[in-house]
Amino acid sequence: MSSRLWAAGATAAATVAAVLVLVVVTTAQRRYERAFALRMAATTAAYVAAVTPPPPPPPSPRRVPRGRRRAAVPAPPPPPAPAPQSPAARSYDLPSLLTQAHALRTLPGWSSDVEVYFGTAPLVDATAPPLSPDDLPHLAAGGRWRDGAALVPLNDRAGQEVVGAVAVRPRPVPHGPLPGGLGFAFPAAIVAVGAAATIAFRQHSLRRGGYVGAALLLALAGYLDVWAAARQSTDRWLVDTRRLLTEAATRLPPPRARVAITDLAAMVRDGEIVVGEPAESAPRRVRIDGEQRAVVAVLIGPGRWIELRSVPAEAEAPKWLILLLPGALLGPLAIMALRWAERTPVRSRRETVMAWGFLAPAALHLLMFTVGPAIYAIYLASLANFRALVRDPLTWNSFVTSAAYALYVPISIALALAVALAVHRYRERGGWGRRLVSVAFLLPYVSSVVAIALLWQATYHAGSLGLGRPDWLSNSHTALLALMLVSIWAHVGGQMLVFLGGLDAIPQAYLDAALVDGAGAWRRFWRVTLPLLRPVTWFVFLTGVISALQMFTLVFVVTQGGPFPLHATDVVVHRIYRTAFGPQALGMASALALMLGIVLLIFRWPQLKLVRRQERHA
């Protein structure tokens, strides 16, 4: 590949990445605009429903003229039974509806155009095309976006039937703070492509050229734009809804002299209205009970202030990073791949691509079922959950219990090593006795943990091996110990097998040399065998501790975390399980799982180093 062609390819890759980010940003902005419009339309529909009176009862032919006849009637007829109301009676007074719709259009400070349909007929702009008759039944299923406007159903006054629709078409507003309403993403994209072109055509290394930084900056700029759009959608709704609420306070049909807050609250079902105080007009962000809220103050009468609250849309804006970051980093990755392809000879390139082809299913699986859920868990576990967990004594109890439980590992390791040494000696003499011993120790290791758990539960219930009548499992002081005993019994076999492999791997020359040098069996073990087994011992220890900290089945089957109330065997994973299916659900459980994950990482780290060192030696 010529270097010019290569540079062009790299620049193209960077451009694609930049465009991808811009597409994500634009999509997000449009989504937030639509979300605003749909929300606004729903609020408007509720407003219309609230302020429009029902149609007057159909005039009876004899009641003309009205005024005099009424006076003449001695006793008014009994009022009609409130239910069942006829569909017509639940509907709206058309002239009033027309008035309200027109009023909406001239509402000062509104950032959208509105259209109200009664049936399929447009009321505000009479020359606009009507809805098709099919639309209304469809709308009953929920609002939709059509032709640049949010279309939501207008229900009858009882909220039972769709009698029309409200369409809200948001007027275009500048999305970004830069001149021309531009966001940060566009200039950042240009900078990123420029940086990519520079390193591509000047043959700079990816590290030097600053393109990675530019790409990250692009992701950040895109995120800022998305965040701003999210915030804007909430703010627009707050401001426009404030306008509606002020309007509603004066228009709500009599007989109320003062509008009730509950009437207004009915109009904004996805927001919250509380009695408020005078405040500046711009929407603000305040923390209420530990939760971020977007609020705006509304004047609904002389000296009467309320506060309109909403969950700020930008609170969930970070989810867009899942698209923005990979999108932006696609450029550097593509350039890295191109660089690699340029440097690598044909055959090893082909082989690498093939290798990744074979790896792809596993990698994808890993990504979807391991990395994905892990990220989701982080997403679920909020800081508040951590705070709550730290305060919960059961959390600490579970960690202490797990740590105490893990103490069985050194014991089982010592036992396993002793057995391995014996079997190893025995094997040198040859014979099937060794196999018998191995199988005896391995059987629990390969058995189902549930089966083992049930077996031991029965054993303990039957009198704890004759070592004392009381059941060890029902005593808070001995229950954990009893489980540790089971674990030792179950793990010695597997650990012995690893040690046996380690013993086999020790070259005979080391032991011969020690023998000739005059070392006895004891010295040979402490000065030669054990030091040479150190990597194996570390491996067994670390994997043992890790699996001990992850233990669940045994507790779940045998004690369920008891005996209570001390939670004597309530290990961490069991606590996670209890939390996940308890009242506080997944967020707390995720937070707890993350805490355990961090502890496990501490043990995983040296283990990985160990594995890597062994690979180097091999």
Binding site: A509, Y510, A513, V516, D517, G518, G520, P531
Partner: protein, 355 residues
């Protein structure tokens, strides 16, 4: 230092394989004896029996005046160097060399002095605090030697210590080992399958073949006067040509041996029937067709610079000629074969030399 004597030593392994057959061998005090043999000849087993790592099935091992046949290795006071350096990877060079002394509860100050002494002798002072993994192959094998010499044992047992090194390093260490032997006046048994190493190092060479001791003698002895056809074949690079032949006491050409396409006149008084004829490659020459003792086809030509090895097929018998310099011989041609009649070795069909 002490002599090492092996008496009627036999070793049968658990699987029923007999590795050694009634071996008798005496290594004199201060002697460097090379145990030479192809792989599987039992030379390492001999060494392990002397070290005490294997227990002989029958026979005795005597070190100095003491019969140690069934004594554990620790009581024999011998040092062994293995094919792999067998340095403990978790100990520094210093600690590795000090290890046998520590096992014997030698005082710390003395240990330090003796380790330093051994290190100086082997040029290891600068790497004493390194781990084996940080050493070169040569340094590693030197450190293993250091661990052996540090405690001044009755005898050194060296089991192919140089076989894993590359050629230049091997030659260098060979010289150092010889110097070490002279300086220490140590009794050494040196096992190798490399006959060049054996020729250059050994005061005496003991040749083992299939668990039997074939010959013990100086390098010249085993080269010039091989005790049997196995020794003859094994010593020398390449080894002696051995042709399967048939002696004829009478004939038109006088007394001859027919071997393949060759008819070689011999000065042997009388011998008839099946026999084996040995001749070293340097005493085989080429000449024009029909001018020598017979004709042969050239199979392979190996020019080595100072000499050229020509592999021949003489009527089904393979034969190597060693010619000086670059010889003008083409593969696939037919050539005449000359032999130096004074340098012939005759063996009977079983391989024993004929007078």
């Amino acid at each position: 230092m002490a002599s090492v004597t092996i008496r009627r030593l036999s070793k049968v392994f658990d699987g029923g394989v007999q590795a050694l057959h009634e071996l008798d061998l005496e290594v004199r005090d201060g002697e460097l004896l090379v145990l030479l043999g192809p792989s599987g000849s039992g030379k390492t087993t001999v060494l392990r029996c002397v070290a005490g790592l294997e227990e002989p099935t029958t026979g005795d091992v005597v070190i100095g005046e003491r019969v140690v046949t069934h004594a554990p290795p620790a009581e024999r006071d011998v040092a062994m160097v293995f094919q792999t350096p067998a340095l403990y990877p978790h100990l520094t060079v210093r600690d590795n060399i000090a290890f046998p002394l520590e096992l014997r509860s030698v005082a710390d100050a003395q240990i330090a002095r003796r380790v330093l002494e051994a290190a100086q002798r082997l040029g290891l002072e600068s790497v004493l605090d390194r781990l084996p993994a940080q050493l070169s192959e040569g340094q590693r094998q030197r450190a293993a030697l250091g661990r052996a010499i540090v405690r001044g044992p009755q005898a050194f047992l060296l089991d192919e210590p140089l076989s894993r090194l590359d050629a230049p390093l091997r030659i260098e260490l060979r010289g150092e080992l010889l110097a070490l032997h002279r300086a220490l006046g140590a009794t050494m048994i040196y096992v190798t399958h490399d006959q060049t190493e054996a020729m250059t190092m050994g005061q005496r060479i003991a040749v083992l073949h299939e668990g039997r001791l074939r010959q013990v003698g100086t390098p010249e002895d085993v080269y010039q006067r091989p005790a049997d056809v196995h020794v003859a074949r094994f010593i020398g690079t390449p080894g002696m040509n051995v042709l399967q032949g048939r002696g004829r006491g009478t004939g038109e050409e006088g007394r001859v041996i027919e071997a393949g396409s060759l008819i070689i006149p011999v000065e042997l008084s009388t011998y008839e029937g099946e026999l084996q004829l040995g001749i070293r490659p340097e005493f085989v020459g080429l000449c024009a067709v029909d001018k020598g003792v017979g004709n042969a086809d050239v199979l392979v030509v190996e020019p080595l610079g100072s000499e050229t090895l020509v592999h021949l097929n003489a009527g089904g018998q393979s034969l190597v000629a060693r010619l000086p310099g670059f010889a003008e011989v083409r593969v696939g041609t037919r050539v005449g074969v000359k032999v130096d009649r004074r340098r012939l070795y005759l063996f009977d069909a079983a391989g024993a030399p004929l007078a």
